[in-house]
Amino acid sequence: MRMAPKPIQSFRDDFTYSNSPGAVARFPFPFPEDEYMYSVNIEPHVTPGPEGSVYEHLLDIDEHYLSEMHERDLVLKENPKRCLAMPHMDLACWDMIDRVMHCFSEDYPEHFKLTKAGDQWSWENKLLNINDSFTFGDSSTLPLPPMEYIGRQVQGDFALLDQRDGDLFMDAGIVTCPADWSLAFDAGMGFKEWHGPVPMAHEMGIFDRALKYLCAIPLGRPVRRLNWTLTVNARMDTSPETYPSWGSDRASVTPENVGEKVHLRVELQVLDRMSRSNALMFSIRTYLISLEDLVTNPEWAKRMHRVMKGLPEQLIEYKGLTRFHPLVVEWLSKYDPAN
């Protein structure tokens, strides 16, 4: 049995979010070695990947689908600016609709159905009880602006990057579960600008190389990378806009509650060239796992301890871990036989 969507759980207030054993087993653990360092860790996203894994399809849907769509709705109601699309990105938004609808209907036919007759498309999303007909490319025939319409049906954050002058510009997106960055703030910025705060990597020339590589991504050859941080509580929306409501969580970690409160947050980032607009679709699919659940895998537990212990000070600070990092290392140490 595939990962069937569970009833709605919360990513705020009472934090009822939990991973089933199946979800723990397929968690994309991001550390291939005991030591963590930046690299341009980009690889081809060749699908289908291993069956049942988060890499099986271009866009992964799992048991948290309904919960994440509910959370997205809450965030958008609080702050509609979490979704935006500059006027020149309309066609790119339709490219994204095309990509998502084709992938979902082919990869998850039990949940999604696409019927096309020329430009007349019908879309059925059985999980969210959506059933719409529209004219492809004509935004006036959708019940919502195209980015919000499709963004409310996909897990993870999405940005559409316009490519011009050898650079990538974040000119459209829907971002409701970011790891401390803001679409409204980064909108219109070039690639190196929005990576401005990342320590060390500029000096290493990583962004020059990465940008050249990303600008050359061809149609039909998507690439992926993993990124990670730690989040206190199973909170999806750790955005600068809502910092007052989650910043103080970091002070709530104690030796007793580390395992339950601290979560490894992994982003599966996929970049895929859009055919009509030449934009890049950048999807950031976030997976959360409590340290308690993570240490049920002894290999992960051991490695997690070693990576956390050896983390450079600049990274601890950049990722916002300073306050509770020592507690995490101490708690994990009992799972590392080398200690």
Partner: protein, 316 residues
């Protein structure tokens, strides 16, 4: 490469000017992808002893993925590809193409789009025009050609675009005064040039003098591979040595030796075929590597660049 190649059937051939032939291509398996204006495909022609592979701009309406159309100018100094397209390809023939790739996309934030076409360089703009019109963009097309050889589509364009279309037949003594044309453009105009090198160089010179930002000047700088001196290349991983004769590119020589190198444009622009060089001096002929990367001397674009000495050792 093989998984990415698309089998097509030639469903129509039309002589659109004395030296230019248009080919209509239909997908044999499934559907074509829609594409973005300015995209090209690389057409592989089954010639002996080695296939010809040439990049051609798609000139059909990008939102219509029912067929792709390309136009090929017969080149006197051809490496064989254009002669093959003109003389050997017939309606009903099968060819293979790569998926579309775009190195010449419009900048949709431009206040105005100034399109400058020279001869067969009209092709990418044939795909720009429907999209510019759909978006209600401000644009002008200036089309330079020789009445007795090029000038394809000019009547159709004049009829469709009216006062937005300016035609210059050099054989009738009609000249496009680049200096004046560019000087009178409103601020925020982007200029796009597709045509012979002299036209590109001319526009770059004038825009530089006028103080246009480089980001507002767009051109597609495919370098057709030029011959050079023969050399040898050693493949460090297998220890094999491959000979590259003067008329063959390094990429072609590697392909002949059945060494797989990822590639797309075969014109020194897209960056896909970049290969690490372990020793030997390089004659860089591409547009992809930066000055600093050339300086380092540890990378080559085998589609157009060559050894400047007798031997290279590459990381393959």
């Amino acid at each position: 490469m093989s998984t990415d190649s698309i089998r097509v059937r030639v469903s129509g051939i039309e002589q659109v000017s004395p030296l230019i032939r248009e080919f209509t291509l239909e997908a044999i398996d499934g559907e074509f992808l829609a594409f973005s204006p300015g995209s090209h495909v690389v057409v592989e022609m089954p010639a002996e002893p080695r296939p010809h592979r040439n990049a051609y701009s798609l000139l059909s309406d990008p939102r219509d993925s029912g067929c792709y159309r390309i136009a090929v100018r017969l080149q006197e100094q051809s490496r064989g590809g254009s002669v093959y397209m003109h003389e050997s390809v017939k309606v009903g023939d099968e060819l293979t193409i790569t998926p579309p790739a775009n190195l010449f996309a419009p900048n949709w934030n431009a206040g105005k789009h100034l399109l400058l076409a020279g001869g067969v360089g009209i092709t990418p703009f044939m795909a720009y025009l429907p999209e510019l019109k759909r978006r209600g963009a401000d644009f002008e097309l200036h089309y330079l050609y020789r009445g007795s050889s090029t000038g394809a589509y000019r009547e159709q364009l004049k009829a469709e675009l009216g006062e937005q279309c300016f035609l210059y037949d050099s054989e009738a003594g009609e000249r496009c005064a680049l200096g004046e044309l560019l000087a009178e453009q409103p601020r925020g105009t982007h200029v796009y040039i597709c045509g012979p090198e002299e036209l590109i160089a001319g526009v770059r010179e004038v825009t530089e003098e006028l103080g246009w930002p480089a980001s507002h000047v767009h051109f597609e700088a495919f370098a057709a591979p030029q011959p050079g001196n023969p050399f040898e290349v050693e493949l460090s991983r297998s220890g094999r040595t491959v000979k590259v004769d003067g008329e063959t590119t390094l990429l072609e020589a590697l392909e002949d030796a059945e060494v797989d190198v990822p590639h797309l444009c075969r014109g020194g622009v897209c960056g896909q075929c970049v290969t690490r060089v372990l020793s030997g001096d390089i004659e860089h002929r591409d547009e992809f590597l930066s000055a600093a990367e050339r300086e380092q001397g540890d990378c080559i674009m085998p589609c157009v660049s060559r050894a400047s000495g007798k031997r290279l050792v590459i990381d393959l």
